[in-house]
């Protein structure tokens, strides 16, 4: 009887501990999401979900804007340029998080082109092997280090 009561108490304690830990983690996580001001370096003009918009980027955008405008830039123009950069960053982050890199054919093509271009530049800079062979080897290496699982209803090649 006493052992059953003691095991019952232990179970209750465990439940209580689980609840407390859960609530504590949830609260901590919520607080950290809300109260954690992102660090902004001296070279940044803004931060969008912890992604910084750099001063150089802002300057470039301002210069493009100024080229299209005859009169000198106003305070409103500066705000507008910054707002557009923030909007653009939000759109890009949304595109990445919603998986457009894979699902949107145009984006997918641009990403693949960019990765391949980077790899080819790297290959050309490092050795004299043919780009195609090195690329094949590189893909083989990526495959070897990846976790590839075939569905049971598919006869893997």
């Amino acid at each position: 009887m006493s052992s059953s009561i003691s095991s019952h108490r232990s179970a209750l304690k465990l439940l209580l501990a689980g609840a407390s830990v859960g609530i504590l983690l949830g609260a901590l996580s919520a607080v950290s999401h809300q109260g954690n001001e992102p660090y902004l370096s001296a070279t940044a003009v803004a931060s969008v979900n912890h992604q910084q918009i750099l001063l150089a980027e802002y300057r470039r955008a301002m210069s493009l804007f100024a080229n299209d405008k005859r009169e000198p830039l106003t305070e409103d123009d500066r705000s507008l340029v910054l707002q557009r950069l923030i909007d653009e960053e939000l759109l890009i982050q949304q595109g990445i998080s919603s998986g457009l890199m894979r699902s949107d054919l145009a984006v997918r093509a641009v990403v693949l082109e960019s990765v391949l271009a980077g790899l080819i530049t790297e290959i050309e800079a490092t050795d004299g092997d043919s780009a195609e062979q090195t690329l094949t080897d590189y893909l083989a290496h990526l495959r070897a280090t990846a976790s590839i699982e075939w569905a049971s209803n598919w006869v893997a090649p």
Partner: protein
């Protein structure tokens, strides 16, 4: 033997259990944890580092590459396509790892354009009903105004006497060409041709009337007003295409603004005011 509990004890246990479950759920939700098992795609053919490649993707790629559905392909062809998809997936994962998507200007542009296209797709796909277009046209009639248009002839003379003689003659001027084309022109075009002073003089003329000689530093002018078409609101039947384009443009802008508003609401945006101020003084 299982311990027996009374009803209040059971209730207390249930409450504690629920509390524990709620606590864990809050923790899991806050951490953004995703349970792949719950969202697993049943059409998955292969997963590459937990990223699935599905039948739909295979079909889509097969159509893109061969113009046929995947089920029309031989096993060998299917394997070729799926291997291509695996290679692409590995390269996409490499791009993610390197953070290329957020730094490459070409990809950034493509991503932003794709999100915008997604946000406005519904608006652009919806047909515009006649009532909608009519309501829009009535509410925005100022957009469909044809401005004042003037057909004017301007003759140039080297001296006041020459201009006065031409004016005194009863016959129309035929000895020289007008410096303006014989077609109706909006006011801003006229100003571009003649400058402000001559245009202002022309505006005082009625149709068929010829001005007195007007002395300008470069020459003397006679202006002859041919027609004056008053500003008018064009009927919808005449501007239907223009009205539809404007309706869609505004719908597109609104949809995009709404999407941006939602993204702003869910984002943490901080502006480095100090850095911006410093920039002003540079």
């Amino acid at each position: 033997m299982m311990p027996m509990h009374s009803t209040p004890q059971r209730s207390a246990l249930a409450i504690r259990g629920m509390l524990a479950f709620a606590g864990l759920a809050v923790a899991m939700m806050s951490s953004g944890l995703k349970l792949n098992g719950f969202t697993e795609n049943h059409n998955m053919l292969v997963s590459i580092n937990q990223q699935p490649i599905t039948w739909q993707q295979l079909n889509f790629a097969a159509q893109r590459l061969t113009g046929e559905n995947a089920d029309k392909l031989t096993s060998e062809q299917k394997n070729t396509v799926i291997n291509l998809l695996i290679d692409e997936e590995l390269l996409l994962q490499r791009a993610e790892l390197l953070g290329i998507a957020s730094t490459d200007p070409g990809i950034r542009k493509a991503l932003a354009r794709a999100v915008i296209n997604q946000a406005v797709a519904n608006v652009l796909a919806q047909p515009i009903r006649s009532e909608q277009l009519e309501t829009f046209y009535r509410a925005h009639q100022t957009l469909f105004i044809q401005p004042l248009r003037i057909t004017l002839q301007a003759y140039r003379y080297t001296s006041m006497k020459e201009a006065q003689l031409a004016l005194a003659a009863t016959a129309p001027i035929t000895d020289r060409a007008s410096v303006l084309p014989l077609s109706p022109m909006p006011l801003h075009m006229l100003r571009r041709y003649l400058g402000s002073a001559l245009t202002d003089s022309a505006l005082l003329l009625r149709a068929g009337q010829t001005s007195a000689p007007i002395m300008r530093p470069e020459a003397v002018y006679l202006l002859h007003m041919v027609t004056v078409q008053a500003e008018q609101v064009l009927p919808l039947s005449q501007v239907r295409l223009q009205a539809e384009a404007e309706y869609r443009r505004r719908g597109r802008d609104n949809a995009l603004q709404q999407r941006l508003k939602e993204l702003h609401e869910g984002a943490q945006v901080t502006v480095a005011s100090d850095n911006l101020l410093r920039l002003d003084f540079e």
